[in-house]
């Protein structure tokens, strides 16, 4: 099991490893500002309830997705933020990749930097979702007839055109992608991969992609959180 970091050039690795030079840290700072910003009808910010994120969010992000009993499905950090915004802050939930969703998610996940990833499958029906995710991972899709495993398991480490295939781990997300010069969320990456197989893309946070997130996060059990990772 290898982090995507090891599949990148030494320049990109160095860029990620230097916490000052890492351009993803700009997103983290933005996320910190959002953390402390009051929004919504209740007059609350994240900090009103959770205080200092360095303490209250320490190691939290490494253990998502988690089972959400009230929604009866797994929940990731993005959806947890939206839940807080709706239920506690009286604010509009963020649309996918819009508003402060990416920087705030990255900021919360960054508090787990270096913590090994683990997903608790014993809660609720997590095991069922894991099974679904596994099935998706090994199912071939699209005109190119590729499953996740075709690239990220059978051919990890080889080249796909000019790009080095990684194992497709999730430990660095949201990740700073040099190509887009921006933070890229996990579900954007999932959708991008599925688009590249020339298949119909499921919606972000749909049942399919949440199941896939549960399974793929589980595959990375033990890898340390790298958010914000830097990728090409």
């Amino acid at each position: 099991m290898l982090s995507g970091w090891l599949f990148r050039t030494k320049e990109t690795r160095a860029l990620e490893a230097d916490s000052f030079q890492n351009p993803g840290m700009l997103g983290i700072e933005q996320g910190e500002a959002i953390w402390n910003t009051v929004e919504g009808s209740e007059g609350k910010s994240c900090a009103t309830c959770h205080g200092d994120a360095a303490e209250s969010m320490k190691d939290i992000g490494a253990h998502y997705p988690k089972w959400d009993a009230s929604a009866n499905r797994p929940i990731n950090i993005e959806l947890q933020i939206n839940k807080c915004r709706e239920e506690r802050m009286g604010a509009e939930p963020y649309a996918f990749d819009k508003g402060g969703q990416k920087p705030l998610t990255a900021f919360i996940r960054h508090q787990s930097l270096g913590t090994p990833v683990s997903v608790d499958l014993s809660q609720g029906e997590m095991q069922k979702w894991w099974d679904q995710g596994k099935e998706l991972y090994y199912t071939r899709y699209g005109q190119l007839n590729l499953s996740c495993a075709s690239c990220h398991e059978a051919n990890a480490g080889k080249y796909i055109r000019a790009d080095h295939l990684s194992q497709g781990q999730t430990n660095g997300f949201p990740t700073y992608r040099l190509k887009q010069a921006n933070l890229i969320s996990l579900h954007n990456r999932f959708r991008g991969c599925i688009r590249d197989t020339r298949a119909e893309m499921p919606k972000a946070f749909s049942d399919e992609l949440m199941a896939l997130e549960v399974y793929v996060a589980w595959r990375g059990t033990g890898l340390t959180v790298e958010t914000p990772a830097v990728r090409q």
Partner: protein, 107 residues
């Protein structure tokens, strides 16, 4: 368009020491070469100049043109003989100026 710049200057240094300074600013650096959804060119908007002053004297400057990536990062060295303040300035195409200060104690 740009957020608060990040700068990293050592807090202390010995007199005459050559120190490394790092700066990073968030900016789209729109090159002026891309077309928008309506098919028209998106006007260029980049940071075209960066300068660093130490106690009022310029120690480093750079002119930037198109093809510089978003979020420009600058790393350079400077020799410090006395305590003082570094002042960093980024000039945007639209005329806005972003500034940051950082103090250093030299012994």
């Amino acid at each position: 368009m740009a957020s608060k710049p990040r700068v990293k200057v050592p807090k202390t240094a010995a007199a005459g020491e050559v120190i490394t300074i790092k700066t990073l600013i968030s900016h789209n650096m729109e090159s002026g070469q891309r077309k928008g959804k309506d098919g028209n060119l998106i006007p260029r908007q980049i940071i075209n100049k960066f300068t660093a002053e130490f106690n009022g004297q310029q120690v480093f400057s750079a002119d930037m043109h198109g093809a510089i990536s978003a979020n420009p990062y600058m790393e350079f060295t400077a020799k410090v003989d006395e305590s003082g303040t570094f002042k960093f300035t980024w000039v945007d195409d639209d005329g806005s100026v972003y500034e940051a200060d950082s103090e250093i104690a030299v012994s």
